[in-house]
Symmetry: D2
């Protein structure tokens, strides 16, 4: 078992150092107890609160990554993966990495991820997140993607930048014929400028937004939740054909 996850009172704690006790609002969980526990076991804090022990999955670690820039929500990452058909043999380039939330998730799915981030402060956050998630197939570069990507023949180039239209030409050079150019932007004028500037090399242009509606399901209290996220961003997809 790799990292250990301790769950109780609707809170999760990842055990970073098995030799240290974990201090929670619900009491202290001793290192000794954690060491003896197997997945599925219940252990108690010194306040008598029950915690269950399990293997920490990727998604548990992922939820704890550092966030410098606004991250792309999972609902949107989901559409990127399924619209472009990304999988184990895919090679993907992204710019800018931001906090690395997209790049790190794709590294868990794809063969290789090449990630460009011009800002050094963000670059360092992504570095930490890659290391925290123990990913070995994401190559992070503190470079200006507008000057061009070093890689070619990518299955997808994904842009999360304020001016994605400035990278259409360099992206085309790095995409395989048939590959996907994908842009994520919060505003409509960005979408308009990006789509307007796609030349005739690109076809199957599509813009979507994903709305995730969470439901409360508790006996007869079954209804969409009152609280909702109104918007994250629009996703535009285009394929390089010529």
């Amino acid at each position: 078992m790799g990292k250990i996850l301790i769950t109780g009172n609707n809170k999760k704690f990842i055990v970073k150092d098995i030799d240290k006790d974990i201090h929670t609002n619900f009491g202290m969980i001793s290192s000794e107890d954690i060491k003896k526990a197997a997945p599925g076991d219940i252990i108690k804090s010194n306040k008598g609160i029950e915690f269950s022990v399990s293997e920490s999955l990727f998604i548990d670690m992922y939820a704890k990554i550092k966030r410098g820039a606004q991250i792309i929500p999972q609902k949107d990452i989901g559409l990127i993966i399924t619209e472009a058909g990304l999988g184990k043999d895919s090679v993907v380039i992204e710019a800018g990495a931001g906090s690395g939330a997209l790049g790190c998730f794709l590294a868990k799915i794809c063969k290789e991820v090449y990630s460009y981030e011009i800002r050094e402060d963000f670059y360092k956050i992504v570095q930490k997140n890659i290391s925290f998630l123990e990913l070995d197939n994401i190559i992070l570069k503190n470079k200006d993607a507008k000057l061009g990507f070093d890689e070619t023949n990518a299955d997808a180039v994904i842009l999360d930048l304020s001016d994605p239209w400035e990278l259409i030409d360099v992206s085309k050079k790095s995409l395989k014929v048939g590959g996907f150019l994908i842009s994520y932007s919060p505003t409509i004028p960005q979408v308009m400028d990006f789509v307007d500037k796609l030349d005739e090399s690109f076809v199957y242009i599509k813009t979507s937004e994903i709305i995730e509606r969470n439901w409360e399901v508790n006996k007869r209290k079954v209804r969409p939740k009152s609280q909702a996220i109104g918007h994250s961003g629009f996703l535009s997809f285009a394929r390089r054909i010529k």
Copy 2:
């Protein structure tokens, strides 16, 4: 290059047999021309219509799979992947396979997929789709999943059945501690019954629906499309902790 994709006039044609001409509404594309073409080349039909040649990606083949049962749309598959954090080392069980759209997509993402389908007619469709997509890590079984899954320690069990609550117990036995039980249902009473019957082994219960809104983006004509899909299904997620 594996399969070849011929694209023109907003239509796609996958070359199944390179020794045969392709007949389209836009004229005939000769086998000879296809054989000589490299990705990115433009070839013409005998009616003079231009087609571009590219490598066929997974998603091109995926779009052509046979559909017997209603399939889970890509927007929903996306949330399954990103909510459960599925990736290259994930082992997933699904029941029932239906047309295999979910299972085949996950096979491209995950280490292993075990797929159960009780109906023989659907089972045969999934077989054909697995073979068409050349997948080697999806194990398909023509079995009643209610009698139990053969596998244990799965990262996720995904149910696409009319009575998913009947499989909660067998799913629990096959899930690793921390693993995800996921149910996809079109109606609210199914969601209610499923969630109601989850026992205290399951925590972090969440029900969502994904709405994909497609936009028209064409110069000043920028607006959500008039045509829309109103609903596919609800996704419920729960984690086996105890």
Copy 3:
């Protein structure tokens, strides 16, 4: 009782001439039977199909108006009424009338509606609809609203035009202090141009879209309908304060 509504087999028929039989796909309903019937009575067609008789409400007639131009859906008319607080003492100006769907509905709600339509073909359709609905408080004008409205001190001016920003100045002159300028546009660039050109006389600027989601509710088959309307238009509201 005014107009009579005959309902059966999920179809509605408004009796236009009580001296004539009504011919339907479910048989003929005789004038004689209709004349004898009171609201709530059941009468039969000559094929033995049952029809119920009721008074025809405004909404039954409204559903039958002629449509030349695309009409504003009821969900959107609803927000116009409730956002601006329109009621029995409101005076409203609209341009352009289109088919008159908005104007005619508002005439049922408001004290007076002044309706401008530059196109003669649309003007004639609106005339017919006003007469069909027997409305006497909507004043229709076949005029170019850009040249100015004849009325002043309106509670609301509602624009349903391709270039609503061209009418901001004339609208301001006709609005009471505190009155609402409302624009309905299908595309985002129209919304942007309209809002951008509102000068500092206008405050409380708000843009919304209304999504109506229809549900199927039939025993356990309870779910949003698969078919949906993706989009009609955006509504922008502003109040003239200075």
Copy 4:
């Protein structure tokens, strides 16, 4: 001019007593200045902040009503009005009144509103709101609507109760043939029970929800707002035909 509205710094103040100064976070506005002002005038607080003066419209007063119970949002009131075609000659019954937000709005639109509220604390709030809005065509009753409505031949009966199915029979007696029975409920099981219990007297049964999506429109920052209301309630409509 009736009530006066003072607007500045994106805040609104209704002048309740013209003989008193108004104290705001942006300084004091003197009674003397307000008395001299005409609609459209600009007056200054003692801190030099500019305020504009206008007639207070119904919607300004409506925004200030007291709220005891959860109120039906304007987007939903809009659909009630437009789906049922309510207008100047409509007679409407509602139970329970709650804070009176629906009833008071409909009183501004309809001929007569009969409003039932069993809880005395809510009844008193509605009384205050009716008086505050100076409405004279809403008749409020502190009665249990389950025992029956005193009125008959209504165009619509609107239910905002936890168990609307208990009022189907009394509603039927009070509805004109062709009239609308409308129920507003936050949860799906309520919708299911209500629709299930509608007998064959009711046709054209329809359930909808209204989602209002607010947009930020500010130069190039044009996007749905991040903050959103996820859900208020479902509206079910049925017409009494037999």
